[in-house]
Symmetry: C2
Subunit: 760 residues, 2 copies
């Protein structure tokens, strides 16, 4: 754990320059607007440790798979998030000295991420070798009103001398990825040009042929007044420069401006890209930096109006939850159903791909509650649109008849992962994708999605389960062999309770869906069944047999569900018995020791209980929680949140708060020593779950919102807003009081402790 | 299957030149002498597909591990068999045309491996572009009398023209490996020199710093008489040439000679290497090619006298078994306990490393029966000498107190393998290493090995088992979780019967050893126990508990041992039900489908029954064989042999012969389409087992040889010789008759069908 971020309600603040935490800060102070993202790399030259990262949503490279030992069925390629042409560069020469604060004496340094406004600020004062002191104030944002636009204001003031300054404002497409299996560069040059204040580069990704035009309009103010100074432009292959040369007297300030557009062939035809980019920057520059900033701040205010959570009495928690919400909004705007939420969002390259089951299992509820319906719906459509590839993926593994296995990691629907125990066996992801359809319908009450899209996905997943499950003559039960559950500290186990349970649940939910469509929309039913060649009377016979006779491992003595067959054969030790030097075990134990141990990486049985809470008695939940949580080492960032929700339900407030602390500031306090690689974006949605479903005790049941809040003692109050079935309501919780305020003024029915209440 | 080798009792013969089978032939016609080996690469330039391979025993490179996803505990390096400086090169220019038979019209081509003599012969007639026809006859061998010496006689005759010939006899250290994780070259130059007829290169491996001097003495005869022609020598970095320029009239013959020495810093200090190499080639050249060849042929005759198997009535089987014996002798001479038997011997790079459990489980019996005791004993000492590293290996995985886990793949004792399910879990290899100690003692009657070396290994392995096994409170039994058995089509299973059985057996055998040493050599016992910090009274308490209460999975209905917990939950299909296009499943099925299936790669339960045959009733053996063999796809080259032995025991002659055909000519007929990568050397020992223990029905029991032969109908007779406890006896089997002939003339007691017999 590394704590250097100052606590503040709305800001992330770093004071004093420490190069060893710079890579962490580059992640934490990242900006994004759904279309693109930018790590908090410096504009000027920096020779210290840094991970350069500008990422454009949907722009990827299929890097050739690298494994030690090939297994049949492995995908040939792994989609990598690509570092895209750099748009931020402003290199300074002052009196012929390059400015690189890694090699200068830094007198003052401050970095502020203003989450309320969506703006990154940085200022520093540095002493050059000859005693000259300069001050720089840099401000930037990625507009959430104009998604292709980024803007930088970069102010330089010589403090104790008069300076000759050369400022090189450039775009650089000669960039590389840190994560490259074969050390390739991934961008080919297309064209570079410069006319007056407008310079641009077009570059193209290898293999995928994505074309990206990055255009900048540069200008300069001297002492806050526009200057007529024109840049000298230089063009190299993959790099264009607009160079300003000027002199400042002591105390004078030059403000450099970069208005940048990043447009891609995902949105425009290649022929029109450069025109579009020119249009974008010209229009934005005409508006000017301040106006752009103003509309951006206003748009962020509207976002916060919908999605903010207020925690009174716990500044640290307040900052933590806002940071998480801020990053979630930056990462996914829901405007494009081809996009999804990568584990690192726009904050790093790690994990490549863009989509894991994290989206359905952890992220969806945040967008259901805080955004308009079409946004979470686009997350579902993403999978619907990739159904054919999921069927193809299953076919490669030997499944037939339209069975679908959605990929573990993907960018476009094709599997990218290549560890057999995950790729082929962590198939519960299919269950989460089915569950998300249910979750969406439950929250929104929108039945049209399942009829028009969801059922087709559900049937394909059910077909997969029906083939993946086999009948054990010995047990006289249906079984599912060779799987990896959510707890990835077990591999290739038989009858993982969670996977078996969600498979049976899927079959049942699909059957319901089939009945519903047959009754309500017989014509649509016919069309669908024709399209996918389904005879429901025939094919569902086996499904029903499986539903009625599936092996769901339990232990009668302990009265718990068993994580998998044989789990109790393991030596039973509790996580509390581990020595501190052994933790995290994934860094200190050999892999086989982890596998053999009873230790659980993240909620597994409890993930199922969380999803299907209403199907279990409180006693069942308690027994399983009391058994499994103490064996859980929470070494996935997705672990604590589920436990917080269940612990608050069980009234275990201390446990809930202890685990909440692990999730709420995971990145800000760098619990896992890995924030330099990027932030844990999807786990941030888990933190939101912890607050709203955990301490807020919110549930959707029988078409209504239910609440059963329980606040940590330190919290004076908790406030959040929820979108629910066209309504927008405010929830205010104090230690002994819950106030629900529908923002449209109409009365609203809800439940507290199973009792129906109605707002006045 | 590719059948192009002509059948012959003693020779491997290829007629006609087909470039597409050249890589196969390069493997099949390989030469070796225990110190080094050479694929049947051509001496002259060859631009067609070829795998260049000259390998020196014990010379390896630790290539940096390459995996997709790192797991804690993986080794950093993988020892690669290294392609060593090439010694065979003779490039020809005839009338200024380079001779490369890939681009010439080949009129005649013949390649013969004379196994009786250990000599590779090749002759071809080729037409040059201008219609000129040349004939080449090349003969070479690697001396088994002088292990550092290789010799080539290369004869050229212009058939229809007078020729100006330039012959470049070179040594080339600028070679590369096909198998290189990061495409590196592995040799650094040290020095090159040339004086008169002697040229040499010294080169050094990267990282491992093995230094190798390759020296050649070249000479030339014209029309079979020594010529005074001197070579022009050229020296480049990593390449030295001795160039002969001469003219031949039509029909005249030039014979080029290369006498080569390959000496390494494994055997000599680096400073003396070049002197030694010079001495070697000078001495050998003084003797001359013919004398070297003569002593080599004589030595091979002596080898065959000891190890030959004669099968009358089945030429194909006769050739097959001799090929296997020939390769085994070429691969391992037993002169150096630092060496072992790689899966490909000296015939290819594949599998890197040099030692798998193949050595103990499959190869040892061959050397026990056909070589002097010190040779198999050296195979055991190899492991003894690596015990410290095996302890270190276990320590890295979290085991303590001197527990040893021998590596899955190794060159020097360090683990090289990097698939977690094998590296960490295929721990039954430890059992085979313990079993080999027993097998050696049983065959030789030599108790000194176990007292002086073996017991220390056994205790370290027992310590590993005692820690690797845990007590299941639920079962009230000891269990072993998370292992991979010999059947690698299952991974990470619980309670693999074979592994559990051999672990318990090891504990029991170790306890016997401890008792024996305490009784017979109390002083040695004390010393040993002190050295390894063992209090036998204390530490063996747990061992005895495990022995008494280990879970060995069985099925009561079927009355069989269960391959692992839950095996019968799988869908039970027989290999005979697979469609031809599905086989081999390891090429046609996805990995997860293989894992989930009941199909068995190689003997697993049956491997245990094979090792401990006397502990099971014939009925038990039959029930298990009848259950498991039909589920076995024999997709390891090590599978058929074990089944042949058990099938003959059970009187299933048809099944035994069917499986024998799969093992006996595996490489000659290229069953698995992979002989181009090298021959399956260790499985060749399995073929020997099939004949001697299978059809010959030989066993060692209670200090005696037992026989229970059963010959395939086609076989008129089977003859082999066995070394047994200082005796050397000949076994002759006809369909209804067994004749045992002790070659020392003294009477010999043996058993047939449990009845004691004695030779006259």
């Amino acid at each position: 754990m590394k704590k250097y971020i100052q606590e503040d309600e709305w800001k992330i603040i770093e004071e004093g320059f420490k190069p060893e935490q710079h890579k962490n800060s580059e992640s934490l102070f990242s900006l994004g607007n759904g279309h693109m993202g930018q790590r908090a790399n410096f504009e000027e030259l920096y020779s210290g440790p840094s991970l350069q990262g500008h990422y454009i949503a949907g722009i990827y490279y299929p890097d050739k798979t690298r494994v030690g030992w090939w297994k049949n069925g492995y995908p040939e390629y792994f989609a990598k998030v690509l570092n895209a042409p750099s748009w931020i560069g402003i290199h300074l020469e002052i009196d012929q000295q390059s400015i690189d604060i890694y090699s200068l004496k830094v007198l003052d340094f401050k970095r502020v991420l203003d989450m309320q406004k969506g703006i990154l600020l940085r200022e520093f004062t540095a002493e050059l070798k000859n005693g000259e002191i300069i001050k720089v104030v840099a401000k930037r944002f990625l507009s959430i009103c104009r998604r292709e636009i980024g803007a930088i204001q970069y102010e330089i003031t010589p403090i104790n001398f008069s300076a000759d300054i050369k400022a090189d404002l450039f775009i650089d497409a000669g960039i590389s990825n840190q994560d490259a299996n074969y050390d390739e560069k991934f961008w080919n040059p297309v064209s570079e040009s410069a006319i007056g204040n407008l310079t641009l580069i077009t570059a193209q990704t290898k293999k995928t042929d994505f074309t990206v035009t990055t255009a900048q309009w540069t200008s300069i103010n001297i002492n806050h007044s526009p200057s007529q100074l024109s840049p000298e432009n230089h063009i190299e292959t993959q790099k264009v420069h607009s160079i300003y040369k000027f002199s400042l007297n002591k105390g004078e300030t030059a403000s450099l401006y970069k208005i940048v557009s990043v447009s891609t062939s995902r949105d425009y035809s290649k022929e029109l890209l450069e025109e579009q980019a020119k249009h974008n920057v010209t229009e934005a520059n005409d508006l000017g930096f301040e106006a752009l900033e103003k509309e951006h701040i206003k748009a962020w205010a509207a976002k916060w109006e919908e999605s903010d959570i207020v925690i009174e009495g716990d500044l640290s928690a307040q900052q933590g939850i806002r940071f998480n919400i801020f990053q979630l909004i930056q990462t996914y705007s829901g405007h494009d159903a081809r996009l999804n939420i990568g584990p690192k969002g726009f904050t790093g390259e790690k994990y490549g791909g863009s989509t894991y089951w994290d989206t359905e299992a952890y992220c969806l509820p945040f967008y259901l509650s805080t955004a308009e319906e079409n946004i979470p719906r686009n997350l579902l459509l993403y999978r619907y649109n990739q159904l054919d590839k999921a069927i193809e993926n299953a076919r490669k593994l030997g499944f037939t008849n339209g069975a679908a296995l959605f990929p573990m990691v993907t960018m476009t629907g094709e599997e990218c992962h290549n560890e057999w125990e995950i790729t082929f066996e962590e198939i519960h992801r299919n269950g989460a994708i089915a569950y998300a359809i249910f979750n969406y319908s439950r929250h929104t009450g929108d039945e049209s999605y399942i009829i028009d899209y969801g059922l087709e996905v559900l049937i394909a997943i059910s077909r997969f389960w029906a083939q993946r499950i086999n009948y054990s003559r010995q047990r006289q039960k249906y079984v599912m062999l060779g799987v990896t559950g959510p707890n990835e500290y077990e591999n290739n186990v038989n009858n993982n309770w969670y996977t078996n349970y969600i498979a049976v649940w899927t079959l049942r939910y699909t059957l319901e869906g089939i009945s519903k469509i047959q009754e309500a929309y017989p014509e649509k039913a016919k069309q669908l069944f024709n399209k996918i060649n389904l005879d429901p009377n025939q094919e569902t016979v086996l499904w029903k047999e499986i539903i009625g006779n599936m092996h769901l491992p339990e232990d009668n003595d302990l009265q718990i569900f068993l994580q998998q067959d044989g789990y109790l054969d393991k030596e039973q030790i509790l996580a509390s018995e581990l020595a501190p030097f052994e933790r995290p075990i994934n860094q200190n134990w050999s892999w086989d020791r982890i596998l053999r141990s009873c230790f659980i990486k993240q909620a597994d049985v409890l993930q199922g209980i969380y999803f299907f809470e209403d199907s279990f008695s409180e006693k069942e939940i308690r027994r399983n929680f009391d058994f499994y949580e103490p064996r859980t080492v929470h070494e996935s960032s997705l672990s604590p949140c589920i436990h917080v929700v269940l612990a608050t339900k069980l009234g275990k407030l201390d446990k809930a708060y202890e685990l909440y602390l692990r999730t709420s500031r995971l990145d800000l306090d760098d619990y896992n020593h890995e924030v330099h690689e990027g932030c844990h974006i999807t786990s941030m949605a888990g933190t939101w779950l912890s607050v709203v479903e955990g301490f807020g005790g919110m549930r959707v049941k029988n078409d209504s919102l239910h609440f059963d809040p329980l606040l940590p003692p330190a919290w004076k109050s908790l406030h959040f807003k929820v979108r629910f079935r066209g309504r927008f309501i405010k929830v205010s919780i104090q230690q002994q009081k819950l106030v629900i305020t529908p923002l449209d003024g109409r009365t609203f029915k809800y439940f507290v402790d199973e009792k129906e209440l109605i707002t006045e």
